[in-house]
C-alpha cells in the first residue's frame, strides 16, 4: 500500500494503526460467474466509522463485492468477516448489514412509512421491537431524511429524489453497524446529488455507521470517502485516501481513472536520491521525485495533472520539466480554463489555469506558442 507515501503526518488513522482490528475483513475473496471472475482474489480491510468507496468503471466487480458483503452472493472462494465474525455462509437476512439498492427496490405495495418500518418487523416475535418503539424509530428516520409529509405515499407517487431518501431511510432504520450503498446518488441530477453527498457524510458522522459505497463517479468518491479502493477487472488496483489516490496514483489506470492526467512516456536515465530523471519520448528531460526506486532504463510514464502545469516565466532553466507547444483548444469553465496544448504531432497536453483575469484580458489565445513547466513534486512516475 502506498499510505506511507502520503506527505501528511497526522495522528494515526485506523488503517495506519497496526493494532487496529478491521470491522470488515475481506480475505482473498473470489466470485466467479461461469468463466468470468467478477471479483478476483480481493483482500480488503475496512475499519469502524469509515466512509469507504469502491470506485471503478461498470463491470469492474465493485457491485459484486458489495453484494458479497450483503450476503446476496456467496463467494466462490475466500472468507468475509464482519465485526470479527465469519459471515461467509450467513444468509443476507441474518447479517448485521443493510443495503441501499441502486434501483432503491422500494416495495411498490407499501407506502413510505411501511417501507421504512419493514426491517423493524422482521425479527422473530420474541426479539421484535415493541410497536411503539417501531413507530418512534420510523418517525425518527422520516424526520432525519425530511420525508415526514410523504409517509402515506407509495413509491410510484414519489420523485426520484424522494424515493432515494425513502430508500436511505429504510436502510438506516435498523441502525445497522454497516451500511452498503450501491450507486446511492446515481439517479439524481447534479444539484440534488451534491446536496445529498454532504448529507450522507453528515449522517455518517452523526450515526457513527460504517459506510461502504459503490460508485463510478470519481467526484462523488472524492467528496465523501475516507478511503477509496479503485477496482478494475475484479481486482483492487489501489486503496488509499482520496488525496493520496489523486496525488499519488500507483499505476496508469488509477491515474487516468481519477481526474485528468497528462502522461509522458519515456525511460529512466538517471537516479539521484529520490529524484528520477526521465528521458521522455518527446525528447525532453523530466526530473521527478519518486519514492519508489527505479532501475536505469525502466520504461515509465510521468504523470502530471493539468492543474499542476503552469506557464513558464522567461526562458531560463535547463529545459527540464518544460514543454513547448501551441494552444489548440480553450475550454472556459468560469473559474478555470482548460487549455489543450499541442506539444508533438501526436500529443496534446492539458493545462488548467485559474482565471484570475476576466476572460477578455487573458494572455493566452488560440494558436499561441507557450512554454509550460511543472515542479518535480507535482507528479508521479508510473510503471506500466
Amino acid at each position: 500500500m502506498s499510505t506511507d507515501t502520503s506527505p501528511r503526518q497526522r495522528s494515526l488513522e485506523p488503517w495506519q494503526d497496526p493494532r487496529a482490528s478491521p470491522y470488515v475483513r475481506i480475505e482473498r475473496v473470489t466470485k466467479q460467474f461461469g468463466d468470468v471472475y467478477a471479483v478476483d482474489d480481493v483482500s480488503l480491510d475496512i475499519f469502524k466509522g469509515e466512509f469507504f468507496s469502491l470506485l471503478g468503471s461498470s463491470g469492474c466487480g465493485k457491485s459484486t463485492l458489495l453484494r458479497l458483503l450483503a450476503g446476496l452472493e456467496r463467494p466462490t472462494a475466500g472468507r468475509i468477516y464482519i465485526d470479527g465474525a465469519d459471515v461467509t455462509d450467513v444468509p443476507p437476512y441474518a447479517r448485521p448489514v443493510n443495503m441501499m439498492f441502486q434501483s432503491y427496490a422500494l416495495f411498490p405495495h407499501m407506502n413510505v412509512e411501511q417501507n421504512v418500518g419493514f426491517g423493524l418487523k422482521q425479527a422473530p416475535f420474541g426479539e421484535r421491537m415493541p410497536r411503539r418503539e417501531r413507530a418512534e424509530r420510523v418517525d425518527e428516520m422520516l424526520a432525519l431524511l425530511r420525508i415526514g409529509e410523504l409517509r402515506k405515499r407509495r413509491p410510484d407517487q414519489l420523485s426520484g429524489g424522494q424515493r432515494q431518501r425513502a430508500a436511505l431511510a429504510r436502510s438506516l432504520a435498523k441502525h445497522p453497524k454497516l451500511l452498503l450503498l450501491d450507486e446511492p446518488l446515481g439517479a439524481l441530477d447534479k444539484r440534488l446529488r451534491e446536496n445529498t453527498q454532504f448529507e450522507l457524510v453528515n449522517l455518517q458522522e452523526r450515526l457513527g455507521i460504517t459506510f461502504v459505497t459503490v460508485t463510478h463517479d470519481q467526484e462523488e468518491a472524492m467528496t465523501m470517502s475516507s478511503r477509496i479502493a479503485v477496482m478494475d477487472a475484479g481486482q483492487i488496483m489501489q486503496v488509499d485516501t482520496p488525496t493520496a489516490i489523486y496525488e499519488y496514483p500507483n499505476c496508469r489506470l488509477v491515474a487516468e481513472f481519477i481526474g485528468s492526467v497528462n502522461l509522458f512516456e519515456g525511460k529512466v536515465v538517471a537516479v539521484d536520491g529520490d529524484q528520477v530523471l526521465v528521458e521522455s519520448r518527446l525528447g525532453t528531460s523530466m526530473r521527478m521525485r519518486s519514492l519508489h526506486p527505479f532501475a536505469l532504463g525502466t520504461p515509465v510514464a510521468v504523470a502530471v495533472r493539468p492543474e499542476k502545469m503552469r506557464l513558464a516565466e522567461g526562458g531560463g532553466g535547463d529545459g527540464v520539466n518544460r514543454l513547448e507547444g501551441v494552444v489548440e483548444d480553450i475550454a472556459y469553465l468560469g473559474d478555470v480554463s482548460i487549455y489543450r496544448v499541442r506539444v508533438a504531432p501526436e500529443q496534446l497536453v492539458e493545462m488548467t489555469l485559474t482565471n484570475i483575469q476576466p476572460r477578455t484580458e487573458q494572455a493566452l489565445t488560440w494558436e499561441q506558442p507557450v512554454v509550460m513547466e511543472w515542479s518535480p513534486t507535482s507528479g508521479v512516475v508510473l510503471t506500466e
Binding site: G71, M99, F101, Q114
Partner: protein
C-alpha cells in the same frame, strides 16, 4: 402556421381526432357487434313467449288490422326461473363447482406459475409450451379422453388395480369427482398463464431488499410476492370462475345425474324442451349474476390498495 380547413379546425387536429375515433371505435364496434347485439337478441327472446313456430317464440310486435301496433312483453319466463327450485339448485351447484375448482386451480397453478417464472430463461418457453400444449387438441376430444381414463375399466382404475391399491374399479366417471377433475384439468392453463405473466414481472430486487432487511424467504413470499401477485390471482380466478359457472360439456360428459349445473339446464331448456324464451331468460339472469363476482373482485382489489394506504406501519 397550420393550414386551416373550412371547418375552422387545423387539419392536423382533425386528422388526429379522426384517428382517435377510429382507435376507440374499432373495439367498441367489435364489442357492440359480437357481444352487445347477441345479448340484445337473447334478451328479446327472453321476454317473448314460447310458440309452436319457426323460430319457436312469439314476435315482439305485430300490426293489428286497425293499424295499431301491438307490443307483447312477457316477464313470465323470468319469474318462472326465479320461482322454480330446479334453477336455483343448478345455479348453486354451478357456483359451488366453480368456487372449488377455482381454488384448486389456484393451489395447483400458483406453484407451477412460480416455478416457470423463476426457472432459467431458456427453460421458460418450453415449460410454457407444455402448459398450452393441450390446446393443440380440441377441447371436446380432451374431455372425451377423460372418459377413457376415468371409466370403470379405464386407465386409472386398471392402473390402481395393477398397483394393488384397490380390488375392484372405483366409480369415478359420472360422479361429481369426475367433474372436478375435468374442470381443473381443462381450466388450469387459464390460471397459470396470467399468474406467470404477473410473476415474471416481479422485481427480484425486491426479494433481495426484503432479505437484506432481515426477512426470511417464506415470510418474504407472504409479504412481497403474494401481495404483488394479487392482480394475477384475481385475473386467473376470474378466467377460471366465470366460464366454469356456465360450463356445459364437462358436467354433461363426465358428470352424473347429481351434477346439476346451470349450463346443462340451459342446454336442456334450449334443445330438449325447445323453450327458447325460458332458456334466454335463464341466460340473461346468469350473465347478470356473473357480473356480481366481477364487480366484487374489482372492488376488493381497489379496497386492498386503499387499505394498504391507510394501514399502520
Amino acid at each position: 402556421m397550420t393550414p386551416m380547413s373550412a371547418s375552422g379546425l387545423p387539419r392536423i387536429a382533425r386528422v388526429r381526432r379522426l384517428g382517435r375515433l377510429l382507435n376507440i371505435g374499432v373495439p367498441y364496434l367489435w364489442i357492440g357487434l359480437f357481444f352487445l347485439l347477441p345479448f340484445v337478441i337473447v334478451l328479446r327472446i327472453g321476454i317473448a313467449e314460447p310458440a309452436l313456430a319457426q323460430p319457436p317464440y312469439t314476435a315482439l310486435w305485430q300490426w293489428v288490422d286497425s293499424g295499431l301496433l301491438e307490443i307483447r312483453i312477457s316477464l313470465q319466463n323470468f319469474s318462472l326461473v326465479l320461482e322454480d327450485d330446479l334453477y336455483l339448485a343448478a345455479l348453486l351447484g354451478s357456483l359451488q363447482v366453480a368456487s372449488v375448482c377455482t381454488l384448486l386451480c389456484l393451489v395447483i397453478g400458483y406453484p407451477m406459475a412460480y416455478a416457470i417464472a423463476t426457472a432459467p430463461v431458456r427453460w421458460r418457453v418450453p415449460l410454457l409450451l407444455l402448459v398450452v400444449l393441450p390446446f393443440w387438441t380440441s377441447f371436446l376430444i380432451r374431455v372425451y379422453a377423460w372418459i377413457g381414463i376415468l371409466k370403470s375399466n379405464g386407465l386409472l382404475n386398471n392402473f390402481l388395480i395393477w398397483l394393488g391399491l384397490i380390488d375392484e374399479p372405483l366409480q369415478i366417471l359420472h360422479t361429481q369427482l369426475a367433474v372436478y377433475i375435468g374442470v381443473v384439468y381443462a381450466y388450469l392453463p387459464f390460471m397459470i398463464l396470467p399468474l406467470y405473466a404477473n410473476l415474471t414481472r416481479l422485481d427480484r430486487g425486491l426479494l433481495e431488499a426484503a432479505a437484506d432487511l432481515g426477512c426470511r424467504p417464506l415470510r418474504a413470499f407472504r409479504k412481497i410476492t403474494l401481495p404483488l401477485s394479487l392482480p394475477g390471482i384475481v385475473a386467473g380466478s376470474m378466467l377460471v370462475f366465470i366460464p366454469v359457472v356456465g360450463e356445459f360439456v364437462i358436467p354433461d360428459l363426465l358428470g352424473g345425474p347429481e351434477s346439476l349445473m346451470i349450463g346443462k339446464v340451459l342446454w336442456m331448456e334450449f334443445f330438449s324442451n325447445k323453450d327458447w324464451p325460458l332458456a334466454a331468460a335463464l341466460a340473461t339472469l346468469l350473465l347478470a349474476l356473473l357480473l356480481v363476482p366481477f364487480v366484487l373482485m374489482q372492488r376488493l382489489e381497489q379496497r386492498l390498495q386503499s387499505d394498504d394506504d391507510a394501514a399502520r406501519p
